[in-house]
């Protein structure tokens, strides 16, 4: 068990309802978990709670068996690599330098990067198909290239788990698929991946397990087939949907237009 | 602080203002313009009939100032002019002065209307003046315009140097109906000045004269140049200002320029101690190491006027004392 959250409760100051209440969540090595749910349902807060980035009112978050609050950030960054949804660098680094920043947790403030660090950075860039971008500055990258560079930086942390918040939000079909195929490959090589996403159909295709969050609570958890049902989704999203299957059982969700029936 | 800044018109016109103003005004050669034209509108008046005639003068701003009759309610916004007005016997006609007008003692009885630069219009108007004497400077131009728009005659004077004393005395005598007194004041003033001045032809060669450094502020170091009253006093007292080559009335200079010019004496104005000279970096100046200081104090060193010959006499005595 890499990440483990029990009975997590988070309240933001001045907000009446809890952002997260009584949530259990966990991530194992070699597992792809998707966190889905409506806007404001607590997806990003869950990710932050698991990383100890927001104070907990109740419950406990553990990383590698230790309470996350007790782990120095640099040690945590060697276990878990997380990419928040928004990241706006102030200065235009080169992609190579940008990915090298993933080594910070291992090197500390002074140690110069050695051959093994450089090899890791190169490996990370190559696995993300970003080696050719290494001399470009990050302000010149397209949306897909930018996300690949960020995942490469996360890999340079040599983590045991990846936490990605809306990694496909601004990507077209091809780049979204490429990115999730990459994550799936990484999971196959033993990493755990927890991906927050709005894309129910992509979650259904790639995830081993889906956590459906709404109103700060877990509405359903299990395999995509268990969670992504017409009844549950219609209730949680408060909008009629139809669920079909693709290629032998993977559920695919079709939101209905007004007046459309569920069975064409 | 350490050296209470002694620019010649410091109370009237603080250093920062002068520093800014000098580019705009001083460069235009305004000092040369100080010689003012004094005209009497002769066409309309007969001899002996002066009170009924019109008075007309041209001031330092080259503006023509006309009065129907001599002014009886004068507001003087320049300490030097206040002194002159008293000296020509026009003191009783004064109804307003600046807070810096500390001479003669009778001036204290005149209503204080505040500052002379950017003055308080309401305080001036409250005195119902029929003439306002204003210091000629960029920041006062708007004030002059507003007073004139209100129908109050304004005369603008630049009272920085000794050469302005005689023409200003005559001009003020004209406007206040004290011509004869002004003429005799000018005669006495010029005679006294000639007596106390150490002439360039007095036999003392320039290299033998004492060289003097005159800091008016120490951090940054500000000194006076040829366009200043203090420089005039020092020259007439028989010494040489080491920054006499600067055309500006005041300017910031570097310590190494002072050290390089190696003055015999350091002349400070004001009552304050010269503690800055104890600082280690000042020890590069030989006169500092030797403790060659001359201190002068009093408003007679701040502004040219009837007391200037007395100021020169005092300065000569102080320089002589420092030499021994």
């Amino acid at each position: 068990m890499i990440l483990e959250g029990r009975d997590l409760e988070v309240r933001y100051p001045g907000v009446g309802l809890p952002a997260l209440a009584g949530v259990d969540a966990w991530l194992r090595a070699g597992e792809f978990v998707a966190v889905v749910g409506p806007n404001g349902g607590g997806k990003t807060t869950l990710l932050r709670a698991l990383l100890g980035a927001v104070p907990l009112q109740r419950g406990e978050a553990k990383v590698a068996g230790l309470p996350v609050a007790s782990i120095p950030r640099a040690d945590l960054a060697q276990i878990v690599a997380a990419l928040p949804q928004r990241e706006e660098p102030a200065f235009a680094l080169r992609v190579g330098e940008f990915v090298q920043l993933g080594r910070y947790a291992h090197l500390g403030p002074f140690t110069p990067s050695g051959p093994s660090d450089r090899a890791l950075v190169r490996d990370a860039l190559e696995r993300c198909d970003a080696w050719t971008l290494r001399d470009r500055t990050i302000d010149t990258l397209s949306g897909g290239e930018w996300q690949r560079a960020r995942v490469a930086r996360a890999l340079a942390q040599a983590p045991r788990a990846l936490l990605l918040d809306e990694p496909t939000a601004a990507l077209d079909v091809r780049h979204a698929m490429e990115l999730l195929e990459l994550v799936r490959d990484l999971v196959a090589s033993g990493l755990g991946a927890l991906v927050v996403t709005h894309e129910l159909n992509l979650a259904a295709r790639f995830a081993d397990r889906v956590i459906l969050l709404a109103d700060g609570r877990v509405q359903a958890v299990g395999t995509p087939r268990e969670v992504l049902t017409q009844e549950t989704l219609t209730r949680v999203f408060d909008w009629p949907v139809a669920v079909t299957t693709w290629n032998g059982g993977t559920p695919q969700v079709v939101p209905l237009r007004r007046g459309e029936t569920r069975d064409p | 602080m350490a050296s209470a800044g002694g620019l010649n018109v410091r109370h009237l016109c603080p250093p920062i203002v002068r520093f800014r103003g000098r580019w705009a005004i001083e460069r235009m050669g305004l000092r040369q313009r100080t010689c003012l034209l004094l005209l009497l509108a002769t066409s309309a008046c007969l001899p002996g009939d002066r009170g009924a005639g019109r008075l007309m003068v041209i001031d330092d701003a080259r503006d023509t100032v006309r009065l129907q009759r001599p002014a009886t309610r004068v507001v003087s916004l320049i300490p030097a002019s206040t002194e002159l007005l008293f000296a020509i016997g026009a003191g009783p006609q004064l109804v307003g002065r600046t807070r810096w007008c500390d001479w003669p003692a009778e001036a204290a009885a005149v209503t204080d209307v505040g500052d002379g630069i950017d003055p308080n219009l309401e305080a001036i108007l409250a005195q119902h003046p029929d003439l306002v004497v204003l210091y000629l400077s960029g920041s006062n131009a708007a004030v002059a315009g507003r007073l004139r728009a209100l129908g109050i005659p304004v005369v603008q004077l630049r009272t920085d140097l000794l050469e302005s004393v005689a023409p200003h005395a005559r001009l003020l005598g004209e406007l206040t109906g004290r011509r004869a007194a002004a003429d005799s004041l000018v005669d006495a003033f010029e005679a006294q000045l000639a007596t106390v001045t150490v002439s360039l032809h007095s036999g003392v060669r320039i290299p033998d004269r004492q060289s003097v450094f005159i800091p008016t502020w120490n951090d940054p170091i500000i000194t006076v140049g040829a366009g200043s009253f203090l420089d005039e006093l020092v020259t007439r007292a028989g010494a040489v200002n080491i920054f006499h080559d600067l055309p500006q009335p005041s300017a910031p200079v570097s310590l190494e320029a002072v050290a390089g010019r190696d003055p015999d004496l350091i002349l400070t104005t004001g009552a304050g101690a010269v503690s800055f000279t104890h600082r280690p970096e000042w020890q590069v100046v030989q006169a500092v190491r030797r403790g060659k200081f001359v201190r002068i104090h009093g408003s007679q060193f701040d502004r040219p006027g009837p007391r200037s010959s007395q100021a020169i006499t005092e300065l000569k005595a102080a320089l002589l004392e420092a030499q021994q």
């Binding site: 403030p109 | 602080m1 970096e281």
Partner: protein, 323 residues
């Protein structure tokens, strides 16, 4: 890269040489060398008592301002940040004016009061910029800096209007900055004061790289974000206040030098900070030499020269960035 470093080294050497040999009195470089090593040279006092401490202090101050500016730009993620932003300018001005207004004839009163005023203002900004949970919020810090400076400036202006002492206006000239007041004494004080906060900034270089990506990302990459922010804010404040005490407020070095060096060396702070130190130092020594020479024996406030150099350079950099 090596060529760029050589270029920087040459810049430092040239400005130092000019700084030592030019001034109210021009002295040939050979004579400067003799005055340095041989006590009997007639230029000895000027070189050893005035110019040498002046050039060294100028170099250290320029370097310190550049490093402080670069650090704050990363911390606030705002390329317009300069070292005086967090309330220092207003605080220092108020301190200087107060010292002159209340002043006995004490030579060190003005720098000491400017120093205290600057630190007091930053302390206020720091307190205003802390959230209830103890986090430092960069946006609030910036706003607090602006309002604190404005408030201090208002008090200062009121004092100047109300006070009788026309000398108060000289506080402005003092604040405009100048290395004319440099001495071995002031250099010594700065040398005792500055190394620790400077060291803190240099050791924070890699954390600043992460902070420039955004606080959340920086935390996930392993930076102790709040600790780094506290250290950087406190260190730059201590350094800038000391710089103000030593030479008034010298603008544009802390703003422009980091930008220029980032273009040459890239934005990674491990390289940026030391090179910015060298370039900032050399730039200030050069600007001070110009201030001394261009209208000698009059000395321009060095802040005027850095602005005259800095503003066009900044404008060119901005134009290139837009393109």
């Amino acid at each position: 890269m090596t060529r760029r470093l050589l270029f920087v080294a040459l810049f430092v050497l040239l400005t130092a040489t000019f700084g030592l040999s030019l001034g109210a009195v021009s002295i040939a470089p050979g004579e400067v060398w003799r005055a340095l090593v041989d006590g009997s040279s007639s230029y000895g006092p000027i070189i050893r008592q005035l110019r040498l401490p002046r050039v060294i202090l100028g170099f250290l101050l320029g370097g310190t301002l550049a490093v402080s500016g670069a650090s704050l730009q990363a911390l606030l993620r705002n390329p317009l940040a300069d070292p005086y932003l967090l309330g220092l300018s207003g605080g220092a001005g108020l301190g200087a004016v107060l010292a002159i207004a209340l002043g006995g004839p004490i030579a060190w009163a003005v720098p000491a009061a400017a120093f205290a005023g600057a630190l007091g203002a930053v302390a206020l900004v720091y307190a205003l910029g802390r959230t209830s949970s103890g986090r430092l919020e960069p946006r609030i810090l910036l706003l607090a800096g602006v309002v604190t400076s404005g408030f201090a400036t208002a008090i200062m202006t009121a004092l100047m209007v109300l006070s009788d002492a026309a000398e108060l206006r000289n506080a402005f000239l003092w604040l405009l900055g100048g290395l004319g007041r440099a001495s071995w004494q002031s250099l010594g004080l700065f040398l005792i004061w500055a190394p620790i906060p400077l060291l803190v900034l240099f050791t924070a270089a890699r954390s600043l790289d992460l902070l420039a990506l955004g606080e959340e990302t920086a935390g996930y990459l392993g930076a102790e974000v709040e600790r780094v922010k506290r250290r950087v804010v406190v260190s730059t404040a201590l350094l800038t206040a000391a710089a103000v005490a030593a030479a008034g407020m010298i603008g544009f070095v802390g703003l422009v030098v980091p930008h220029a060096v980032r273009r040459i060396m890239g934005p990674l702070h491990g390289r940026l900070l030391p090179i910015a130190f060298a370039v900032g130092g050399a730039l200030l020594v050069g600007a001070d030499t110009i201030a001394r020479v261009v209208v000698r024996p009059i000395e321009l406030p060095v802040g005027v020269v850095t602005a005259l150099i800095g503003v066009p350079v900044f404008a060119i950099l901005l134009r290139r960035e837009i393109r």
